[in-house]
Assembly symmetry: D2
Homo-oligomer: 408 residues x 4
């Protein structure tokens, strides 16, 4: 706390909810700091951010920033990540991880604009988000102070928090009185749920945990067929209609939600060292990943594709761990983007009760050549005799080894 004494002005990532409102007040009262609030529309679902503005005003925020960053979020963060087919631990599409760097970037920029010497966030000391917020902030401004009230304040329990809220006349929604059954994060890419009813990994997540998708069991009996067009690895049109990045992801979300696509119940390894269990819903992202793999399958060279595949786990880990603004992420991004120059064309998918099935792909840049692969007469496109030499030289070291090993 000593280090926080000198803080004069803080930019707070402010949702308008109870927890960040308590933080706002705590920063004012305990640190004696002026507070600037930053509330972003990342597509979390509250399209109306005016209540957050009013609440911040009411609580005496010095300046209030409210911004719709959905296009930036999808264009500069989500799509670059999907170019890599990033999946953390084989399955998780990194929906929370990818939003944090953007928020930190704006916090640091606003701090510069407003002359604030610190930024603050509402993430706890057990999770990954604190790391993501803070690594990003430090990478963008090495002198910024970062305040994480959940690690610093003296409240011992939820009751302490609510008492503080009451004492400072912070409105408390009725359903916040009892313990929430689980914790939620959401943005245009996904929603996540953790804790409480999800804490035993043997117990199936209850249906009410899900927010972005209907159950596959409740999805329509009919198949929905769609076509996605790509350019330089990014989706640019849906069923023939050009869409902006955020509009594209929103449309895919609707399609995914309606067909029960994109649920994930995962036990994962946090950067801070423990395993946790989360339920993720990434409807549009799940469709997009399949589609992107589909268009890559005909337009990406094998050497490029395999190199990407081998580096993907590292890339995903970097994002998960909060290293979006690290040199190594930027280096990998340069490598990935280089590979996407000709990843263009159209993919057709069938959406059906939890399944997003690629059923066709075509491209002017296709590397698929039927004359090479056909069982029919290939008119000399491929000389089968070549295979013998290819195999014999690939085998040469193995034969040398086998001869050595039997004592030849």
């Amino acid at each position: 706390m000593a280090k926080l004494k000198d803080v004069k002005k803080v930019v707070l990532a402010y949702s308008g909810g109870l927890d960040t409102s308590i933080i706002l007040k705590w920063l004012q009262t305990e640190l004696g700091a002026e507070v600037v609030t930053f509330t972003a529309d990342l597509g979390q679902g509250d399209s109306d951010l005016e209540p957050a503005r009013k609440k911040a005003e009411m609580m005496g925020a010095k300046q209030i920033y409210i911004e719709d960053v959905r296009e930036e979020f999808v264009r500069d963060f989500v799509f670059p990540m999907f170019r890599a087919n990033a999946e953390y631990e084989g399955l998780y599409l990194l929906g929370t991880s990818i939003a944090r760097p953007l928020i930190s970037k704006r916090l640091v920029e606003i701090a510069r604009e407003t002359g604030a010497d610190a930024v603050a966030h509402g993430a706890t000391g057990k999770g990954n988000d604190q790391v993501r917020f803070e690594l990003s902030a430090y990478a963008l401004n090495p002198d910024i102070k970062v305040i994480a009230p959940w690690r610093d304040w003296s409240f011992k329990s939820r009751t302490d928090l609510l008492d503080f809220a009451e004492k400072h006349q912070i409105p408390i929604a009725k359903d916040k009185r009892g313990d929430a059954p689980f914790s939620v994060d959401a943005n245009l890419l996904h929603s996540s749920s953790e804790g409480k009813v999800l804490e035993d990994p043997w117990v199936e997540p209850p249906e009410f945990v899900h927010q972005r998708t209907i159950s596959p069991m409740d999805a329509p009996d009919a198949v929905t067929e769609i076509e996605i067009e790509f350019l330089k690895g990014d989706p640019i049109a849906l069923n023939g209609k050009a869409l902006s990045p955020a509009a594209m992801l929103a449309a895919l979300n609707d399609l995914g939600r309606d067909n029960g696509i994109g649920r994930l119940d995962l036990v994962e390894n946090r950067f801070v060292g423990m395993k946790s269990r989360g339920v993720y819903e990434t409807p549009g992202g799940t469709v997009l990943l399949q589609a992107h793999r589909g268009i890559e399958s005909i337009t990406l060279d094998r050497g490029a594709a395999h190199l990407k595949d081998e580096l993907m786990p590292r890339y995903a880990e970097l994002i998960y761990n909060g290293f979006w603004f690290s040199p190594e992420r930027l280096m990998l991004q340069a490598l990935i983007d280089k590979s996407q120059e000709d990843v263009e064309g159209t993919v057709r998918l069938k959406l059906y009760k939890g399944n997003a099935i690629v059923s066709g792909r075509k491209s002017k840049k296709s590397l698929y050549r039927n004359d090479l692969v056909t069982f029919e007469d290939d008119r000399g496109a491929y000389d089968q005799k070549d295979a013998e030499g290819f195999i014999r030289l690939n085998a040469l070291r193995l034969r040398t080894l086998a001869a050595r090993n039997r004592g030849n």
Copy 2:
């Protein structure tokens, strides 16, 4: 062909079908070689291999080996591969690739037993299977001769082949007269289909191509719930009943098939250099992969899991390319097997119309600790203050870099 002149006895991988029967005869007539046939029950579906024996006898095979290798196949090839969560190009479960080394191993062993100087297979000069057969054979016996008639003979067309068959009184099933609509491979792990009606990757595979699975659309409306128990990374019991490796995979195949699980329509990159399009059905394997990931998620340490994930694409590529018996595959297997020592416990899955959803996992060896992760009082299991130092030292190099970059 010159090199083949001296061949005296050949062990042929013999299915009993038309193509390998033509090869049998060609080896006898064109090379003047004695032929030993090897027919394996790999679970391809013809549980009765007696017709193959009769046909081989009729055609004058010198010795006839017919063997049920299903347990060996699953125990020593399929399960070790699934310990790695191997997926080629992110999606393909390597069903064909993993069977070839076993066949080559038996061909080479039988050659030793029978004094044969060559082995022969029926794979074409365009595919991966020739590579897999031959690399395996050479790795096991550096002096073996390998005959690949499809590359060596002078037949120019299917008509030539059929003429040769008729001339030598090889029975031709009626449906083989016309061109087959596609080419098929099958074993206990999967079936694959290629060619003809599948040659245009924009055209959806017709339903009749599928052999091992019903369509998700045709699967039951009810969820099937199962539990799989693991030991050392391998499944050992299904719904509480211990099963041998082959019996386990067969049972999972039935469950997968009935629920429309395990179809894949993929454009992939062959080792010989072209892209090809295949339809794969791996019902049991698809369920097994999800279950294995599920049990690993609670029993495998993060460092172990991430190292495995990073090496998996390489491992899968080695198997796909035919390097099962290479030192590098054995080295990776040693690494993977080391990781699986405590991968044990039970996974519950819901099977539903194409989906294999992990809905619970438990283990005596679980590394999931609710006391660490809980939002409630953790009684000192985790000190949130630790996170500050953790983040600050992880950030140190990024801050140094940021200061440098702005000219400090």
Copy 3:
């Protein structure tokens, strides 16, 4: 400090020097804990450890462990690491890093034997060694308490420390009165020097910093030629004479030292986030690395060798960062050890003024075949025609890509 209050008995890694003597006394006086000392002969150069025993006795150590662990150190730590050709950041042979896990292992074992609830070390809060000590200790006993007095005590300066020493009648060697010009670590593998006169990376290290080697400029004008014999990747005989692991490393150290071999002046990246500059002397290890690469060059298959090379940086990083007892290091070790089964034979080296030059290698397990490589008649060992097919199929994807890229 609060957490340290309950500590009753501590096992201290004790060198007998001033700093760890101050720590011994501080643990007794400030924590009120009983202290057990552990002093290891790792080959640091003080072959007589009796003074450390007397000093510990004099200062009231409860129990005193003094052990010669040189054979264990080289056999179970150094040699396994050299099987991997491990070099951190391309150059550093990890001499300090590899000793820490062994010390921690003994500390934890002695804690168990003596009923101690904590271990303590004398590493500072800025370096890597604290991390290595503590990660190893926690990995071996999750409940052990680790005390790092340099991070915990209230001394602000070297003067404070010396005052404390005088107050408690701890003998202070005269040359410790002033600031030491640099900090030193040593064991049978290497010595390292850091700090003070080395702090400016533009300034060349003064000659007096070096402790284990003479300067190349001072080394003999004549070449020293040696032969090292390997078995399973480890050196077992020198110039025809079988030597134990520690005797082997000691003998190579003598040879290296006398020929000015093994100096390294490096700016490296610490795990805790900053760059530091060190001068390392690894005379025997430098010779050993070259020799090991030499014997691998004729006995290791390409696939095995390249896989090892690709994983080496990760392996070295794990050791540098203190993760010797992590699952991922053990997995990599399993992979590496698998590769070394046939790494045997003899390497001849010329040692000369800083150079350790491999001038010959031979092995019964050699994979080098002159019949394959000769420009002369190879009697059919290699068919140059095979190369055409090999190249054409390796080129196929590149040609397909080139055709696509020009718009074909």
Copy 4:
């Protein structure tokens, strides 16, 4: 050979030596093709290429291209590769490998200019160079025909070749009559020697094999100190004097040669499957590698450096195997180049009898901060308390694992 029948005009990589002169004649007489010669000054040592021109004219070459490509070679091939610190199999600086793509590039370009339908090279069917030439050619023009006479012609022995030469009045230098004692390649980066007297890897290379360096034993007793300045990872000035890429490498070659630096006696693994033994001399490159590592050590972030180190073996393998113009090499280059943006500053080296020792490095872009690393008072630059949390969270998974493993 059939495939070569239609070749009308060939661009030949022509050295002016006996072998490529025989090839020139063979292409004219056996294929009936017009021949265009391309002779490049890559710094191989024959600065006067006029004799090659006269010889080509005399032999009836249709067109003659003679070009000094040294600057392009160093700027666009050598320096980009050194940004990666590329070493094949840990030691080889790829001097031959890196020259082949440039030659192929010019062959293909000249083929386009002259309307030739084929290119030809003088590499044998056993080596790597054929692969490098041909992969590069195919990657740049998928329809080009590549003629490798050593694989195609019917000569059985050196005598046959010499008879052909005599018959066609090709001048034969006297020393070519007997077998050359070894085979040589050279360019501005290195020279290599293979075969004959080098074929037994136990026998030390005779001194006369070396062409670019004096022996360390013959080098001056005095140290030569130099300073190299870097910008964006490339050397731009030597001892304060700006030099073009080729001039820089030539100057470093002189310095290396005079100090006995850059010899390597290596058994390596060829792409075509066998081991071979080569003697390489890379005097300037060896100095450059050390210098580049030196400047990176203070200017490159740890995350960037370690990622580079892990990918380097793959990158080096790609170049060795001939995949310079592959998408994956280009992707890796994008990653590497991204890392080099701030790799600038000055390195001081001591050159002495085979040693190239970095003795100082400085940079305006340095990331080395003495305030962080000092043992003295750091005025708050680093809080040692942070290390505790850092270690505890890094240890958390290891402790969880240890508790699990002992049955907690």
